[in-house]
Amino acid sequence: MRVVEQIDLKVKIGSMVLNNPVMTASGTFGYGQEYAKFVNLDKLGAVVVKGISLKPRAGNPPPRLVETPCGMLNAIGLENIGIKAFLQDKLPWLRGVAAPIVVNILGNTVEEYAELADRLDNTEGIGALEVNISCPNVKRGGVVFGADPTMAAAVTKAVRKATSLPLIVKLSPNVNDIRIMAQAVADHGADGVSLINTLLGMAIDLQTRRPKLANVMGGLSGPAIKPVALRMVWQAAGAVRIPVIGIGGIMCAADALEFIVAGAHAVEVGTANFVNPRATEEIVDGISLYLKTNKISSLEQLRGSLILS
């Protein structure tokens, strides 16, 4: 057997160091523990947990899911146990995981985001915060924070003030120009941007002429959204200097590598976890194998290496 040199898969996002670029996408990996019987969590780049709000949220009425061609729509409604139960019941277990834990937070007002960041700031065992700005701002008639650069900047600024933890802002794809959104949060203290969140969509049952989701609209995820996600990641990586984390339809190592070629520092794997609970670990191994096979000694050589001519 040929001896292969050690390949460096390390990635830095702010002060957070990941052993490899493969993270889990919020809302698709529970609070981590659900996957411990399938995946060696220690081997992952980072574990991103389900979005947490100040108060527990019950979520939307069912049906909350529907499968669509090469993808799925979800309208979970951000159901979660709330910050108090998270800190009490979930975090102690997560502290035993070697990979950094990223807490995804969501709020209805700028103040709620800031309060969440403040409460997580002095907590042991948290690697970074990921701010989900795809939530309606109740003080602005329910316009989504992530749809407006001014509101996105305001959330980022408030969270930045409340914490010294590395800060990732997760962008919504339901905007005209993703570059403007990425720049807005980068200018106000984000250490990284992750994208994309789900694309707003809907499905209709022709027989009953009813929407297939009780909430009518839902978020599209899975392989169907990968081309859109790749395009947006490429645009964002060209617009900001902070690390970009690529998300959207990543099912295998080749998909992840395409995002890295487009300019991503890291990736998050979402819907693939439902299809194959071992997906994240297999993607880590697949990336190593690809680099070895192609004699590429570090991820940096590959990052943003898209050839345009």
């Binding site: 809302g27 698709t28 990996f29 529970g30 659900e34 996957y35 019987k37 399938f38 389900k50 108060k55 527990p56 949220r57 019950a58 979520g59 939307n60 009425p61 069912p62 049906p63 909350r64 899911l65 529907v66 499968e67 061609p69 090469c70 993808g71 799925m72 979800n74 979970i76 159901e79 009780a214 899975g222 392989p223 099912m251 819907t271 976890n273 439902f274 299809v275 194959n276 609970p277 071992r278």
Partner: protein, 271 residues
């Protein structure tokens, strides 16, 4: 403990126009699963259909094989029906909370009520109850749309030593009408206390649950919901529970809190 397995299809049977039974070699599941638990089954490799589909464990055998019994609805089940012996499939399981098998109070008989493909898990349940509680009366009430969908399954129960009462929507076999009606029929155990285990279409389970509540009987139902993960990660399988939690609607999750629930814990008025 649940695991993920790439398994071989040992056998495929067609029991009716759209009804299939797959036998899969999955010793880890066959030896640990409890009645009422389910698996997420996927026919490998493809991005469309994307997600696994949940199926109750129909039978678990000493030779390390398991069976699922299903009806073709859409793309996922169509694809599974196209598999043949020798093909591989991906399997996650055993998942969820099964039926409560603790012995009932003295004098209470056990009654299994199944409609359509809801009959599938009753095979494993009936066998296990008979093994664990050999002295008890186990009644079986089965319903389907017509004779073609029901007669083979009913015959198989007879071969296992049970005497099922049957009902069909069109009256082509047994009683003409709905299965829950059989609960009120004048059979030897009528008037005695029962514990009911029920699986079938939601309206049929609602009628059964309602009847049991009026009689003061214990009723366990196995629910079907849309599921993406089956392992309590996506929160997509919510069902409305009775009561409220922190001033909000109380949702339960079919893949974790169920799929078998005590009928009294569920809000039957909601969709």
């Amino acid at each position: 403990m649940a695991g993920q397995y790439l398994v071989k299809i040992v056998k495929k049977e067609q029991l009716g126009k759209e009804i299939f039974r797959l036998t899969l070699h999955a010793p880890e599941i066959a030896t640990t699963a409890r009645p009422g638990q389910f698996v997420m089954l996927r026919s490998g490799g493809l991005l469309d259909p994307l997600l696994g589909r949940p199926f109750s464990l129909h039978q678990c055998r000493a030779d390390g094989s398991i069976q699922v019994l299903f009806k073709v609805f859409g793309a996922g089940t169509k694809r599974l029906a196209a598999l043949a012996a020798g093909d591989q499939a991906s399997l996650i399981g055993p998942l969820g909370r099964g039926f409560d098998l603790t012995p009932p109070a003295p004098g209470v008989s056990l009654c299994l009520v199944g409609g359509g493909m809801g009959i599938a898990p009753l095979f494993l349940l009936a066998q296990e109850l008979k093994r664990q509680q050999p002295g008890l009366t186990i009644e079986l009430m089965l319903g389907a749309r017509n004779k073609a969908e029901l007669h083979q399954l009913a015959d198989e129960f007879r071969l296992m030593g049970f005497s099922p009462l049957v009902a069909t929507d069109d009256g082509s076999l047994g009683y003409a009408g709905l299965v829950p009606d059989l609960l009120a029929l004048n059979v030897p155990s009528a008037g005695k206390a029962r514990r009911v285990y029920c699986c079938g279409p939601k309206p049929m389970m609602a009628v059964t649950a309602n009847y049991c509540q009026k009689q003061g009987w214990d009723c366990q139902v196995s629910l079907e919901t849309m599921m993406a993960c089956g392992i309590s990660a996506c929160l997509g399988c919510a069902v409305k529970g009775v009561g409220r939690r922190g001033g909000q609607v109380r949702y339960l999750h079919a893949c974790k809190d169920g799929p078998v629930f005590n009928a009294l814990d569920l809000d039957w008025t909601s969709e």
